[in-house]
């Protein structure tokens, strides 16, 4: 493990405790990452990214693809059910 990743419970004293007292906020904060706490996640968001022209074309292309394909699926299934294929 990278030493930078070491946590308080990785120390001899921290690990000695059989079960942590999770009513103690320090015990909870010592094992979770800062952006893992529910309140922290509610406070911060990953903001909108700038969508380049290429990305917009890709996403629209995918959308058109799905709509066309869904129509074809319905046509195909109706043909199978009515035995017209």
């Amino acid at each position: 493990m990278n030493p930078a990743d070491a946590r308080p419970e990785d120390t001899e004293e921290g690990a000695a405790a059989e079960t942590p007292d999770l009513e103690d906020p320090r015990a909870v904060l010592s094992v979770l990452e800062a952006d893992q706490i529910v309140a922290a996640k509610q406070r911060t968001r990953f903001g909108r990214r700038e969508l380049s022209a290429g990305v917009r074309v890709l996403l629209w292309g995918m959308r058109v693809y799905v709509v066309i394909m869904l129509v074809l699926v319905v046509i195909s299934a109706i043909r199978v059910i009515h035995g017209t294929r």
């Binding site: 942590p20 909870v28 904060l29 800062a34 309140a39 996640k41 869904l70």
Partner: protein, 474 residues
Amino acid sequence: MKQRPINPSSSSARPTTEAAADSPLAQDLAALLTHEDADRARDRWKVNRARRIERRSRAAGKLRVLWLLVGPGVLVFLGENDAPSMLSYSATGARFGIGFFIPFVVLTFAMGLVVQEMTVRLGAVTHRGHAELIFDRFGKFWGFFSLGDLVLGNFLTLVTEFIGIRAGLGFFGIRPAVAVGAALLLVFAAMTTGRYWTWERITLGLAIFNGLFVPAALLAHPNWREVGHALITWTPLPHGNGFDILMLMLADIGATVTPWMIFFQQSAVVDKGMQPRDIAAGRVDTLLGALLATLFAIATILATAPLLHHGIDASQFQAAQFAEALEPWIGRAGASLFALGIFEAGIVAAIAISTSSAYAFGEVLRTGHSLNRPIRDAWPFYSTLLGSAAAAAGLVLIPRAPLEFIVLIVNVVAVLAMPPALAFLVLLVNDREVMGDEVNTFGQNVGAIGVTVLLIVAGVGFGVATVFPHWLKF
């Protein structure tokens, strides 16, 4: 610990591995901790202790760490070995026997592995679900499109799970209303645990019964030389109506890569509390899930292969009919195992898929969305979970509901909805503002884009075959 309302802040999230205790906001956060945080901390504490044991006793510690971190990957793959998937593998074995489709199924699971590995990294680094990230990074417009695909696919798939449950238990003479009602009760019981860990272990315990198809396959006495030959040479190639072969290929692809798997595994990784240093274990978990699911899928093909050798026309078979038709060759015990396997496939998938819908809704509505929350704290999340399952279960019991139509299209719809889902996934996992150093490598991008292209080619092939059906008659 009670949750206090907090003021929304405009500050941006960023990938970090900083411990909450070391954060400048630690004091503030300490006052805002929830029951969900405490449960997640308990799970993390166990993982960290196991890591300490790992440093003293490598093998025992490694196994303990793996035991604690295994879950989302195995669940997602065994969940995707669901009722329509097992039906698809049964049809494959009954119509084409041992040949091309055995290695083809291995390939589809390899594709699934490439996709699901990315969700592990996304979840562990960002601690956010997939729907939440799409809404945050691409906005509501694209978010609702993505959510729409998920909701449509999930509902159709859930319906087919309950068809499988009804058919599987129907083999034992259990009435449809009783079978569907019992399954719904099981979904409810699993969600009321109030602990992600307990829910995960219960569902894993059920999922392992996907292995029932292995003894069913052994009772069919497959020719192992043929199996080995097929795996190496991809032969004999399937013969017959090209459109039917293409549909079966699409159904088998749809049995391994679907949008709900992306949303589910990422949210489960987050709910489990996995961190960037757990990514390696998450990969092992995902690989283990893929291997088990591949084994059980191949077992299903082998179990139904005798139908081909005995000239049984299985083209119109539904789940329970496969079990009934197999009875003369694999015995009552084998057929019962097969029917139970279909039931298990349906119930595990019903739990996983309804949970994936609930996670996505909770993330988008910004309400509590964790299995670590008690029902009273996250009732919209649990209502979505149970409501989606109940709606699908109810539809199955309505006389003359278009169930045949849904069964026919469900896996194909999954394949067709996959390229847009993969586009969002690949864009997110290459987004350095979100992923930091865990962005895709060149090789991972080659794999992910390769899978997307393959799915698009398969979809376009389906489209061409639908518009010009005579092209595939040979």
